[in-house]
Amino acid sequence: MEYKELLLNKLNEFKEGVVLEFTDFRDDASITLAPENLIPVCTFLKNDPDLEFLICKDVTAIDWAARKNRFTAVYHIYSFKLSSFLRIKVNLSGNDPSVDSVTSVWKGADWYERETYDMYGIIFKGHPDLRRMYMPEAFEYYPLRKEFPVMGIPGSIPLPSKD
């Protein structure tokens, strides 16, 4: 329990009111940030000597389909020092969703952000190499968006020509 209090105190010290929402569902600490605060807060979390969130374990997104802020970018970061992880959420608008890339803070976020871009079409600004991860480069759809059918779209990936 203490590390969550420590974390919230530290973040409040860093900038008053930076944590828009804090949830603790099933003992998973999760904070919601405004998009413009993402990079400063991540840099702080990584470099603060009491926290040291050195590893970015995962980056993904959630498509809420019907909400006003349609997408939420989700980051899981881990601290060896506290032996615990933290989830950071950033709500993004539905039209041309974009958010600053955290690759400047955690190099390892590179592929995770590429995967999220591939699957949700979220643009990570400042990413060094934002190509698709799994799908072919010219694929027009974003498969994990809710409007994409589970069965796929026939003909969206043409077979190579025989000659």
């Binding site: 374990k57 959630i62 989830r87 699957m119 480069e137 010219a138 027009e140 589970v150």
Partner: protein, 414 residues
């Protein structure tokens, strides 16, 4: 018609250190070769585009997605129980530990816990499958660098483990053994005896393995000092599992955030500081030894009791009961048709798999299907460090490095 087979952007990344160069200029004195996806040493369908100067690798660009089956999309259209067989197909060298990870992740979301005997059975099968995964890793790795005997020996031992799987799960390979709230069938006395016999023999077999490889001058020579990943780089790239521990970071989820009953177990976390291919091999060998140690403790301590939780609204009833009792039939009908309906919220749960940290991130909106499932697969994250290890090495070392990372593409491509 869109051109999906265009590699223009990929080549740009390959040449990114000199922005002025074109591919034709580069080809004057360098070579761009395509390794994979159909290459025996890439452990599946990993494609690497290598830029070579003579025999030295200048740049490496991995391309994934040849085995992308869209499991995360499929999970959104399935109930929580239906997805269990798909977890077999993630890391197919150690199917049981994926089953365990998934069941535990769903149980965390539901807020339920399996009975103690079921948890012990899960630990046993997770450790057996760790041995199984490492056997494949060591065997194919040794084969890739020329010691072909090893793969035959390790697969012979793997067969014996699959016999144990056959006994407890009824399948040798795609086990789908765990259920939400417990396990499918009991780990009975015959299985315990089989496992004990296997372990007694296996101790000596491991000695033989080590005798064969650790004194093999070619094997050591091809691995020592190759593909060094420093501690800082390993952490920065998010590498986990044996690859991280070979770089000198003592991080094992079984120790750092104990799940199941790992806090009651006596075992060491092997750590090497060299960070080269040889260290990654040694970590795996030592981990197999530690798993044997854990298994012996588990088999002695396994408690009696139920193997599946008695929570009719959340846990599927046994098939025999469905045919004989009305209320079980109703519960079965409700769970199969409407799902287990976890509360609204999101959870992340991860376990230490043979390849590294396997995590499941669920977002639930209260219905029977997950609103979102994200699989944090260790092979995917470990492969990210591949260019860092390969650049500056010889082309023949690339094969050794891939083998030492031990990626499974079923998991990396999801």
């Amino acid at each position: 018609m869109i051109d999906v087979h265009n590699d223009e952007k990929l080549l740009k990344v390959l040449l990114k250190d000199d922005p002025d160069i074109t591919i034709e200029d580069a080809l004057d004195n360098e070579m761009v070769i395509n390794m994979g996806p159909q290459h025996p040493a890439t452990h599946g369908v990993l494609r690497l585009v290598l830029r070579l100067d003579g025999e030295t690798v200048v740049n490496t660009v991995p391309e994934l997605g040849y085995l992308h089956r869209g499991y995360e999309k499929m999970a959104e259209a399935m109930s929580f129980n239906e997805f269990i067989p798909h977890t077999d197909r993630l890391d197919y060298t150690s199917t049981m530990s994926n089953n365990v990870a998934y069941a535990l992740a769903v149980e965390k979301l539901l807020g339920i816990e399996a009975p103690k005997r079921a948890q012990y059975i899960r630990m046993i099968i997770a450790e057996i499958s760790r041995i199984m995964g490492h056997l494949v890793a060591i065997g194919t790795f040794a084969m890739d660098v020329g010691a072909v005997t090893m793969v035959l020996w390790t697969f012979r031992e793997r067969e014996k483990i699959q016999n144990i799987y056959d006994r407890v799960a009824g399948a040798r390979f795609t086990t789908s053994y765990t259920r939400i709230g417990g396990v499918a069938s009991d780990f009975d006395d015959v299985a315990v005896k089989m496992t004990k016999e296997f372990l007694d023999e296996f101790d000596h077999t491991m000695d033989d393995f080590e005798k064969l490889l650790n004194t093999n001058k070619i094997f050591i020579g091809r691995l020592e000092g190759i593909g060094v990943l420093t501690k800082e780089d390993a952490i920065a790239f998010g590498v986990t599992g044996p690859n991280l521990r070979a770089s000198g970071v003592q991080y094992d989820i079984r120790r750092a955030n104990p799940y199941l009953y790992y806090s009651d177990m006596d075992f060491n976390v092997p750590v090497f500081t060299e960070g080269d291919c040889l260290a990654r091999y040694f970590v795996r060998v030592d981990e197999v030894r530690e798993s044997i140690k854990i298994l012996r403790q588990l088999l002695d301590k396994i408690p009696q009791g139920e193997i599946i939780a008695n929570l009719p609204k959340k846990v599927l009833p046994h098939k025999a009961e469905i045919y004989s009792r009305m209320e079980k039939l109703i519960h079965d009908f409700m769970i199969v048709n409407f799902g287990v309906n976890p509360p609204v919220g999101d959870t992340y749960f991860s376990v230490e798999n043979p390849k590294g940290e396997l995590g499941f991130y669920f977002v639930s909106n209260g219905s029977g299907h997950p609103w979102k499932l994200k699989i944090r697969s260790p092979s995917f994250c470990n492969l990210q460090a591949l260019p860092k290890m390969c650049n500056g090495q010889m082309i023949s070392d690339v094969i050794a490095i891939i083998g030492s990372i031990d990626p499974v593409m079923g998991e990396a491509d999801k």
